[in-house]
Each structure stands twice: as structure tokens, then as C-alpha cells.
Symmetry: none
Subunit: 233 residues, 2 copies
DNA sequence: AATAAATGTGAAAAATATGTAACAAATCAA
DNA sequence: TTGATTTGTTACATATTTTTCACATTTATT
């Protein structure tokens, strides 16, 4: 007897999808399916699966983009199943946030074994941080799945960097984030740690999200350290 | 660039071991090595590594037995690197407790990518477990994760040096810290051990954390020696 | 009690960090 | 291409932090 884990299977090729689902069914796993990227993201939001099995070759969007999208709000384990066997493809997917990478043709036994590994890890971690796809704090709202931010219901027009910056602050509400932590996470690993740029982006972001709002600023400066988004009431 | 993670490399074949260690060194990972199973188990016990890279083909014992042995007391991530490419070998190792399985010949880039995956997971887990990183002593409270200090629930505004100083005292509650120990830890190694500055900072810190509080001061002076934060009730 | 040594205190100077505006460079869509 | 948008850079006024220093106070020693 198995478990209550829910597995999201993302695969556009029907025969392969059937192979996977039949295997899962035979091993008493519960699952839902999606045949393209946007359906996959919607299912990930609405069903909150415990594991995602993801084919990279989807008709509507690149699989790596699906990984990044899901990773923008969720830490759900993602096991990639792909026909692309190039090392560079593997690295790209793993660095984007995938947890494992199987190349087609794959053995169902190996897939099941790697599923068991992931499930074993899940049960260890068990009840982990709540990963909601919508963030709300005061008059500010972020819909991670849609990639949009709102202030008092009105959509904000944010540039990509501004949005990343906002998400990073939001994911760490109440914590002081150091300059280098922010630049590393917004601009990537290799960056000259330029605080000047961060300052001007922070300024424009503040202008946009503190538009005519409350008395207390939502983003505090901690001189010599970094910035912090305050938890609002 | 990197990290404080310690990696145990278990591989009896010297050329392969060198390839791995050279790669790790080039990427600024710290590591220790073992050339057989019993050494590997001893190293895993004594050094408590963060990750184990394990070759299955060891001279003295079967690699799967090493996995099981380590798993009997530790959940350290184990990445298997093996010449055995049979599905049954993979399944056996994964079910024995391995977290990942690479077959030789392997790409060092893929190995590094899978290491990053594992490290990423480690840091997530450690962040969660470190959520209990809150110090409390009387009316004083420090939230290390948030980087903030509170007095009777009210947040204190501390400069970087004041905060460092407070954390240092807090981490050593009850102990007398010498002037030179404090200056070394707050200002860094190369410093002329200026006690005058320390005195000034200690004064402002005291003003802030002993605001209208109790009869007994929380920070004691030990003349000719240093300072001590008292354990309060 | 007198003296010397160590510590506390307040205020200024020095050093450093920040917010902002203006502008240059890069990117992107038509 | 153009024109619009986004991103990166610089200069500078302002604000904050850190250091220095003179002097008062406390503590230890004789």
C-alpha cells in the first residue's frame, strides 16, 4: 500500500504519458496530467502536487521556462524526463531548479527508484514552508504564477529586475537582506556586487510600491547592511 | 566564491579520484578522500561531511554496503559514481539510500551540476531548521535570521558594529570576553586593538539595551580584562 | 588618603553610506 | 532604421556611522 502523494505528470506525447501513468497507477501513486507548459503551471498552482515529472519538449513553451516559473514560488521536487541527452541541457535544467534528470528512453524501474528517493526525502522534510503562489502584504500583492504585482488591486508595471527584486524581498519579509545577497540573487552569481545599481533600482521600486500609501515605508534601509521589507498589517 | 561544505570523495582508482578532487578544488569546494569502504565509513563518522561522492567498486567491500552502513546513522546526501550501468545496480543503490547515481564515464560538468542541486537542497533545509535561531535573555531578544534585535518587543535601531557587538556578547552569555577577543571578532583580525573605540560602542550599546530597565546591568565591566553579558532571569 | 591606572562620557571630526537626478548605454519592438 | 524602454554609471548633496580626543569618573594599589 502506498501513499497520499500527488504527482503531476507533464508530457505531451500520449504514448509516453500513458506509460508513465500506467506505471504510477500500478504502483498505487495518485497523479494528474498536463500536456503542455501552461497547463502544467496552472495545475502546479491549483493542485499543489508533491512531485512534478516534467518532459522538456513541450509544444507551447520551453521546459526550462516551466521549471523557472514553478521555482518562482514553489520548492516542489521536479524530475525532468527528456529526450535531450546533451550535458548542457542537463546542466541548464538542473541549475534552473530541477532535482533530477532522466533521459529517454528511460527505464520505468529507474524512474520508480528515483521517485522513491525523492519521496523519501520529502517525508524527512515533511511539513515544510508554505509555498503559496500568491503573496499578500498590506496593499501589496504578488501573483507569482502570473508574474504580476498589484498595489491596492491595480497592476504595477515593473521591469524584470524590479520584479525580481520585489519577489526576493517578499520571499524574505521581515528579514534584513544584505546588499551582496540581493545582488547575487537578482543579477546572478557573477556580479561585481555593485551597490550603486541596487540603490537606484530600490529607489524606483519604492516609488512604485509606496505610491501614496501608508505612513511607514514598506522597505526599510539598514545602513551599512542592506534592506528589509516590513510585514504590514 | 563558494562555501563551507565538506565533501567526502570515496574512490579507489587514483586517476579518477584525482579528476574529481581537481574539479572540486577548481570550484573551491573543500573535500576529504577515502580509497576503500572502511576508510570511507570512518571518515564519514569522524569528519561528518555534508555530501558523500561514492564509487561502488571498492576493493574491500561492496559500495551498497557502505551506503547502508552510513544510512544506519546519517542522512548525509550520497551521490554514487559507478562503472556499473545496469538498471538493477542503480535501483539497488538508490533504494539502499543513495540520493543520485552517475555512471562512468561521467561529465565533470554534470557532476558539478548535481552537486549544486544537492547543496541547494541542503541550504533550504538548513534555513528551515535555523528558523529557531532566536536568542532571548531577559527583555532582550535577537533574531539572527532577520538580523534584528528587540527590547521588550520593540525593535532596536543598532548600527552594524553595535549589532555585531551585541551578537558576540549574546553568543557568549555568562562568559567574560577580553578586549582583544572582542575587537578581533567585531573589527576583524587586522586591527590595532583599539580599546577606546570599544568603550564608546559599549557605552552606546548599553544605553540602548538598558533603557530604563532593571536594577542589575546586563553588561558587566571586568576591569583590566573585558566585558560580560549576564544571563538574566 | 593619595596616586596611578582603567573606564565612562560627550562632542567634534573624519570616514562612509545613501538617495537622487541626470545621462549614457544597451535592449527591444515595430 | 527609429523610438521607446530598460539598465547601468556618475556626481553630489545629505545623512549616518565610526573614530578620535579631552576630560570626568571609577577602581586598584600603596
Amino acid at each position: 500500500m502506498n501513499n497520499n502523494y500527488n504527482i503531476l505528470v507533464v508530457e505531451d506525447d500520449a504514448p509516453v504519458r500513458n506509460l508513465i501513468t500506467t506505471t504510477l497507477k500500478a504502483n498505487e501513486y495518485k497523479f494528474i496530467t498536463a500536456a503542455n507548459g501552461s497547463d502544467a503551471i496552472m495545475s502546479a498552482v491549483s493542485h499543489n502536487p508533491d512531485i512534478v515529472l516534467l518532459d522538456l519538449g513541450l509544444p507551447d513553451m520551453d521546459g526550462v521556462d516551466v521549471i523557472e516559473k514553478i521555482r518562482s514560488w514553489s520548492n516542489v521536487p521536479i524530475i525532468v524526463i527528456s529526450a535531450r541527452s546533451e550535458i548542457s541541457d542537463k546542466i541548464e535544467a538542473l541549475d534552473a531548479g530541477a532535482d533530477d534528470y532522466l533521459t529517454k528512453p528511460f527505464s520505468v524501474e529507474e524512474l520508480l527508484a528515483r521517485l522513491r528517493v525523492t519521496l523519501r526525502r520529502l517525508s524527512v522534510v515533511s511539513e515544510q514552508s508554505s509555498s503559496a503562489s500568491v503573496f499578500e502584504n498590506g496593499s501589496l500583492k504578488i501573483d507569482y504564477a502570473a508574474g504580476c504585482a498589484y498595489l491596492n488591486g491595480d497592476e504595477l508595471h515593473l521591469t524584470p529586475i524590479e520584479y525580481k527584486l520585489l519577489c526576493l524581498m517578499a520571499k524574505n519579509v521581515g528579514k534584513v537582506l544584505t546588499h551582496s545577497y540581493i545582488t547575487r540573487n537578482v543579477w546572478g552569481t557573477s556580479w561585481n556586487n555593485d551597490v550603486a545599481s541596487l540603490r537606484v533600482f530600490m529607489a524606483t521600486l519604492r516609488k512604485k510600491i509606496e505610491k501614496a500609501s501608508d505612513t511607514t515605508p514598506i522597505i526599510q534601509t539598514h545602513i551599512g547592511v542592506g534592506y528589509r521589507m516590513m510585514k504590514m498589517e
